[in-house]
C-alpha cells in the first residue's frame, strides 16, 4: 500500500537526449494516491508502458525520482518495491501447474502453506480458474494463460500497487468486459492502488475512477472520465476522447469573436479577457476553438447565432446519428438523437457558449474565475 509520487520524472532511451522529441517521457510531476483505480490512456507509442515500467522498477528513469510514500525508490528492483505487474502478453511458467503458478510469488515470499492455499483458492474463484488449478499451464488457451498471469499479480495482498499493461489485449471481447468487472471488484475488495494502461477509452472509463491521458510522453490531463469529456484541457484530449472526437477549428481573434472562413463566432467575455492576458506574455497565433459533436445543436431553420452549413453525410449508428457538415471550409461533426430527423441538404448549427472551448497553443483557456 503506497502513495506513488513521480517528481520531475523524465526518461529517454537515447544516451544523450537533446530535443524534447528524444524523450519517451517528458518531464512530469504526478501523484497516484493510495487505493485509487487509475487508467493510463493514450495512443500507441506515447510512453504509457515506459512510464509503467519506471513505476514498477523494471526501468530506471534517466531523470527525476519515483517515491513510494515519500521514500525514494530509484534504483530499487521490482522485488524491493513490492509491486505487482501484469504484462500485455501472458507469461506463465510452463512447467508448473496453474496452482503452482498462482502460488509462485507467495512461495517466493515464504508465506505459510495454509495461507498460500487460501489465497490461491480465493483468486482462482474470482478469476474462475478453479477447475484448471491442477492442469499444466502450457496447455491452456491464451485467455486462460492471461488470467493466470493476472492472478499472479492479484494473489499478493500486501503489494504497493498493481500495474496492468494492456492486460486484456489477447482476451476475447465478451470476456474482456467480465474481467474488467472482476478487476473492479477486486479493487473494491482489497483497496489496492491499481494503474491500468490501455489505448481504449471505453476500457479506461469503465475501469478507472480517474484517467491520466498521455500524449507525446506527457500526461496532458488527469481527471475523471466526465472531466476528460466535458473539459478537455488539451486539443489532443478532445480529439482522442469521444467518438467521434471533438471538432477543432483553427481561428483568429477579432473583436471578441473567433473568426474562420468569414464566419464569426462570439466568445464569452471571460474567455477573451483570459486569452488577451496570456497573449501579452507569449505571442502565438495558434488559437483553436473546440466543440464536441454531442453539444452541437442542429436545427432545420435559422435562429439567432446559428450558422448555415450543408450536409455532407449522415451515418445512422442505431441509437444516434452522426452528421458531417460543411461550415465554411471546415468539416464538422454533429451527433443527434435517433428520433431527430436528420436534415438532408441544409442545416443550421448552434454552438452553445458553455460548450465552446478555446485553446491557445493547444492548451485550454479557462474563463477567469470571478
Amino acid at each position: 500500500m503506497a502513495e506513488i509520487h513521480l517528481e520531475s520524472l523524465a526518461h529517454s532511451y537515447l544516451e544523450q537526449p537533446t530535443k524534447p522529441e528524444d524523450y519517451a517521457i517528458r518531464e512530469m510531476n504526478h501523484v497516484w494516491e493510495q487505493g485509487g483505480a487509475y487508467a493510463l490512456l493514450g495512443p500507441s507509442g506515447c510512453g504509457k508502458s515506459t512510464l509503467l515500467n519506471i513505476i514498477s522498477g523494471l526501468l530506471n528513469p534517466s531523470e527525476g525520482t519515483v517515491k513510494f510514500d515519500q521514500k525514494n525508490v530509484n534504483g530499487l528492483q521490482p522485488n524491493q518495491r513490492n509491486i505487482a505487474q501484469v504484462f500485455q502478453f501472458p507469461v506463465v511458467y510452463d512447467s508448473m501447474s496453474v496452482f503452482d503458478n498462482l502460488a509462485f510469488p507467495l512461495r517466493n515470499l515464504k508465506y505459510p502453506k495454509d495461507r498460500i492455499e487460501k489465497k490461491v483458492q480465493e483468486i482462482a474463484d474470482v478469476l474462475e480458474l478453479g477447475d484448471l488449478l491442477h492442469r499444466r499451464a502450457n496447455n491452456l488457451t491464451a485467455d486462460e494463460k492471461q488470467k493466470v498471469s493476472m492472478g499472479r499479480g492479484l494473489v499478493r495482498d500486501d503489494v504497493s500497487a498493481i500495474l496492468f499493461d494492456e492486460p486484456l489485449t489477447v482476451i476475447d471481447p465478451h470476456l474482456k468486459w467480465k474481467l474488467r468487472r472482476k478487476l473492479k471488484q477486486i479493487h473494491e475488495k482489497f483497496n489496492i492502488t491499481m494503474v491500468y494502461v490501455t489505448h481504449d477509452q471505453l476500457e479506461a472509463s469503465t475501469f478507472a475512477d480517474k484517467i491520466a491521458l498521455m500524449y507525446e510522453g506527457q500526461i496532458v490531463q488527469f481527471g475523471t472520465p466526465q472531466e476528460l469529456f466535458e473539459e478537455p484541457e488539451h486539443t489532443f484530449v478532445g480529439y482522442f476522447i469521444g467518438s467521434p472526437g471533438m471538432n477543432i477549428i483553427e481561428v483568429s481573434i477579432d473583436d471578441s469573436h473567433a473568426v474562420f472562413d468569414n464566419i464569426r463566432i462570439p466568445l464569452a467575455q471571460g474567455l477573451i479577457g483570459q486569452l488577451t492576458k496570456k497573449l501579452s506574455v507569449i505571442s502565438s497565433s495558434n488559437i483553436k476553438i473546440g466543440i464536441r459533436p454531442e453539444f452541437v445543436a442542429v436545427l432545420d431553420e435559422s435562429a439567432d447565432n446559428s450558422y448555415e452549413c450543408s450536409v455532407l453525410d449522415v451515418e445512422n449508428l442505431g441509437t444516434y446519428k452522426i452528421l458531417t457538415l460543411q461550415l465554411g471550409e471546415q468539416k464538422i461533426k454533429a451527433r443527434i438523437d435517433e428520433d431527430q430527423i436528420a436534415p438532408t441538404e441544409k442545416a443550421f448549427v448552434l454552438f452553445p457558449e458553455q460548450s465552446l472551448k478555446l485553446y491557445l497553443d493547444d492548451y485550454l483557456v479557462r474563463e477567469e474565475s470571478i
Binding site: 523494471l58 522485488n79 504484462f87 507469461v91 511458467y93 509462485f104 515470499l109 499479480g153
Partner: protein, 288 residues
C-alpha cells in the same frame, strides 16, 4: 463412387532419393549384415548363421570395453551437460565480450580430432608437457602412460575441453531465445536466482538439452581418434573403447565376420539408447 484418379507416377519423384540412400546407407549396411553371417577366408565363404553374434556377445574383451564405454559416456554427460549450462549462464549477453566468448568457445570445436589427441598427448607428458610436468613439479605423481587412473583422467579432461563448448553454445542460444518478459515477470514475482533457473531457464532449455545430450552421447560413444592418439588405448586396455576394439578386430586381426556382427550390435546399442532417451523425455512431457 470413386472419383480419385489412380496415378502412382508421383513415386518416380522419390526415386533419386531412394537411389542416394541406397548407395550411401542401405547397400553398405547390408554388406556388413552379409559379412556378419559368413566366414570369409580368401575366396571361400561359409554361411555360419548367428555364430559370430554369439561369439562377440560372449567375448570378455568386448564386454569389458562396452562397460568402459558406458562409464566413459556417462561421465562425459555428467560433467559436460551441467558445466555447459553453467558456462552458458555466466556468458555475457551482449557487447564485444559476448562475441569474444563465442569465438573462444567455438575454437576447440574447430580443431581436428586427432590434433586434439596430439595436443593433449604433449600437454600431459610427464617429462616435457605443460600440465604433466607441472603436476609432477608440485609433487603429484602423474603419468598417463603408466597409470590407468591418470589415463582416464586425461581422456575425460580432454573430452570435456573439446566438447563442453558445444553444450555451452547450444544452451547459450537457448537462453537467448527466452523472451525478456519472463525475466521481468520473475522479478515482479520476487523469484530468487535459483527459482529463475529452475522454473524459467531450465524448462526453456529442455529442447536444446535433449539435442545436446543426444549429440554428446552418440559422439562420446563412438569416440576413436582422440584416445587412440593420446593413450593408444592403454595402459593395458584401460582406455580402449568400443570403436578401438572394433578397429583392432577388423583391421588388425582381419576378423571380418565377428567385426561385422559387432558393428551391427554397436550400431543397435547407440540407436536403442538414443531412442529410449528420446521417447522417455517426450513421453514425460506429454503425460502431464
Amino acid at each position: 463412387m470413386n472419383l480419385k484418379v489412380q496415378n502412382n507416377k508421383a513415386w518416380f519423384l522419390v526415386l533419386p532419393v531412394l537411389l542416394l540412400v541406397a548407395f550411401s546407407a542401405v547397400i553398405p549396411l547390408m554388406t556388413v549384415v552379409n559379412y556378419s553371417v559368413q566366414d570369409i577366408f580368401d575366396n571361400s565363404r561359409v554361411y555360419v548363421g548367428t555364430e559370430w553374434y554369439r561369439e562377440v556377445l560372449n567375448d570378455p574383451r568386448l564386454q569389458a570395453s562396452l562397460i568402459r564405454q558406458f562409464i566413459f559416456s556417462g561421465s562425459v554427460l555428467l560433467i559436460e551437460i551441467p558445466l555447459g549450462i553453467l558456462v552458458a549462464l555466466m556468458m555475457p549477453t551482449k557487447g564485444r565480450m559476448a562475441s569474444l566468448c563465442l569465438v573462444v568457445l567455438a575454437m576447440p570445436l574447430l580443431i581436428p580430432w586427432n590434433v586434439v589427441g596430439t595436443i593433449w598427448q604433449i600437454f600431459g607428458r610427464a617429462d616435457i608437457g605443460l600440465m604433466g610436468a607441472f603436476l609432477n613439479g608440485i609433487g603429484v605423481n602423474y603419468n598417463y602412460a603408466s597409470n590407468p587412473t591418470d589415463a582416464w583422467f586425461t581422456v575425460l579432461l580432454m573430452d570435456v575441453w573439446h566438447w563442453t563448448s558445444l553444450v555451452a553454445l547450444l544452451c547459450y542460444s537457448g537462453l537467448r531465445a527466452i523472451p525478456d518478459a519472463y525475466y521481468q515477470a520473475a522479478k515482479i514475482d520476487q523469484a530468487s536466482a535459483w527459482a529463475v533457473f529452475r522454473y524459467i531457464q531450465l524448462p526453456k532449455l529442455r529442447n536444446v538439452l535433449v539435442i545436446g545430450v543426444l549429440l554428446r552421447f552418440m559422439d562420446s560413444f563412438m569416440i576413436y581418434a582422440e584416445p587412440f592418439v593420446l593413450t593408444g588405448g592403454g595402459p593395458g586396455n584401460s582406455t580402449t573403447f568400443l570403436s578401438q576394439t572394433l578397429t583392432k578386430m577388423a583391421i588388425g586381426q582381419f576378423d571380418l565376420g565377428p567385426a561385422a556382427a559387432f558393428s551391427l550390435v554397436y550400431f543397435l546399442i547407440v540407436l536403442l539408447v538414443s531412442w529410449l532417451f528420446f521417447t522417455t523425455i517426450t513421453h514425460l512431457d506429454n503425460k502431464k
